[in-house]
Symmetry: C2
Subunit: 371 residues, 2 copies
């Protein structure tokens, strides 16, 4: 049974005005995943959850959640669908939220099998608790890219579920995602017509390199400003290793990486490629052709230059009317309010960012009923 056969269009979706492609649902506690993990994994993971590596610096607030979004009833900002609908959807006009989890360091975990088991349990919990009961949410197939065979199996298991719209990976890795061992994951996603989303997370912990090209950083603010370097490396690798050339139907969405790094990487890579074509003879187009055609970006954290027109210029450089999707990053500290962050963006481009590009990227899946 394919998605198209299984799902009828949901009439509630015909009036979409604002799709938020980065909503971080949270587990209330690791007990939530217990039924989905089974006793063997539960014995290892337990109520505290798996240990994740820590950085030598951290957010000066102590955590990434925006305090004014916390639900007093639960002490969390995103463990209750009703609370998220009120705080995000009603207050900010969001119609539909794509769920991206709170396990963002997953792909940096040294225990590959454990990370895969957590991903699978999290997917099932998300579908049961958030997606199937609530037409306002869509799910992702979270996979651990460090475990390609299991990732492919998980994509095959859930690809026809009408509640999911994408394959989701995190950016923390010990190799960039164009490297050959990851290819089966992208191939499986493309085979099912699913875009791949990569959410920022897991850099400098676990198996991920600890340093930038110039060494370690001192402060969280430095880390946060520079973590887009991971996205740049993944993008360059996906282009130059030929992933986009081999999978022309693949769409790759960069979530929570912002947009202003893209012109730099695209132009520099074009220039370098023109001077060194023989190194990657399998490419048939310029790097920027692949990037403009196959890469997508969520807005958050959107740049706020002193001159608002500079943001519009950057958006035009990457053809944002085709390539950029709105994201709030609810409930994290650098949440972007859609009414404020895009006030200087021309209305036609804003409409594409708020809803048109999401409809193009996700297609019928976005409009399908969740069960």
């Amino acid at each position: 049974m394919t998605l198209t056969e299984s799902a009828s269009l949901n009439p509630q979706r015909s009036t979409l005005n604002l799709v938020d492609c980065d909503v971080h649902q949270e587990i209330s506690s690791w007990e939530d995943l217990r039924p989905y993990l089974g006793p063997a994994w539960w014995e290892r993971i337990g109520p505290k959850g798996p240990p994740f590596g820590r950085r030598a610096y951290e957010n000066v607030r102590g955590h990434i959640i925006s305090e004014d979004m916390i639900n007093p009833a639960t002490g969390k900002a995103a463990d209750d669908p009703a609370w998220v609908k009120r705080e995000l959807f009603e207050k900010h006009g969001v119609d539909l939220g794509i769920l991206t989890s709170n396990i963002l360091s997953l792909s940096s975990h040294p225990n590959v099998a454990l990370a895969s088991a957590v991903a699978r349990a999290y997917n099932d919990w998300t579908l049961d608790k958030w997606v199937r009961p609530h037409p306002e949410f869509k799910g992702s197939i979270i996979v651990n890219p460090q475990d390609p065979a299991f990732a492919v199996e998980e994509i095959e298991r859930l690809a026809d579920d009408p509640g999911v719209v994408q394959v989701l990976v995190f950016s923390g890795s010990n190799e960039p995602y164009g490297r050959p061992r990851f290819f089966p994951i992208w191939e499986a996603a493309a085979h099912h017509g699913l875009p791949v989303a990569m959410h920022s997370g897991g850099e400098t912990v676990g198996i991920a390199p600890k340093d930038t090209l110039a060494g370690p950083l001192t402060y969280y603010v430095e880390h946060h400003a520079l973590q887009t370097q991971s996205a740049m490396a993944h993008m360059v690798s996906l282009v130059m290793e030929g992933v986009f050339e081999r999978l022309p139907g693949l769409r790759f969405l960069f979530i929570e990486e912002g947009v202003s790094w893209v012109p730099h990487v695209m132009w520099r890579l074009d220039k370098d490629y023109k001077g060194n074509r023989s190194e990657c003879p399998w490419l048939k187009k310029l790097p920027s052709d692949y990037i403009l055609e196959q890469c997508r970006y969520s807005t958050q954290p959107i740049d706020e230059p002193r001159e608002p027109e500079h943001l519009v210029q950057v958006l035009e450089m990457i053809d944002a009317s085709r390539t950029v999707l709105y994201a709030s990053d609810y409930p994290h500290w650098d949440f972007d309010n859609p009414k404020i962050a895009f006030k200087d963006v021309p209305p036609a481009m804003r409409e594409r960012i708020f809803v048109g590009n999401a409809l193009d990227l996700y297609g019928d899946r976005l409009l399908a009923a969740n069960r």
Copy 2:
């Protein structure tokens, strides 16, 4: 004796039209440095030169020199001042070239004392062979930042030489340059009114980290496209660790890093800082205030977007009429021809990039006689 006392203005310099702030003079062989190294270092370095680490990828040409610039008489493109004057100055209208050497991996060498000795010998050789006999060239005080005490000593030794215009370091490092151990170098440069230039080089070899934040790269073209990540990390570190706040007179020139990464880093860092001010309480201004006031950039490799106006927009975002200096990178493969690369830049801005900003940055040193 200060520079101003020692040097008379050179009448040849009153008609400057094009200053090239990145000309790579070459030694003909390591024998050139023998008289300056002394017998003890020569015994270790020998005619082959010190071993430098190698990457698992390299330029598909085998080396970085542009073949059509090679002097048939010497087999090299930049070991003869007369040849460089003909090939670069006469053909392209350059009036004055600032020499940046061919020992770009120096600061990544694990033998810190050896690297310092090579830097000192190279400085003396450059002054003797290139600068003092030829008013068309200016020298740099090359220092090894991994050896701060020796670097300060070298700055003190040469700061009053009228042939030098800047302190020069390379970007390869195991720590970004805002970290405390490097501060005495920047302090000594600022004390003498010398700008610091950092030339790209040495990433992923020797003591430098081997990986991007997302792991190792496969191809030279990937490396070249992403090596600006080192400059980004150094810039963020210099700002956030308070180097620019502590040394308001310091000017820091990024050479061979291009320019299009700067808006991204500047805007993102501002936004992150606004959300996390308490982490770096010594800052008194926004990161972009320090960057716009104290950072400078050489053009090469200049971006070549499909829409030439996009380059002009990026130049305006970083206030290029104050902050950007022309560089050819002669004789490397990605040399930028001044007549072609800037044809779409408005004339007033181009004049600032070609000569005005260099005069502002280097001051009287640029116009002083070399001996």
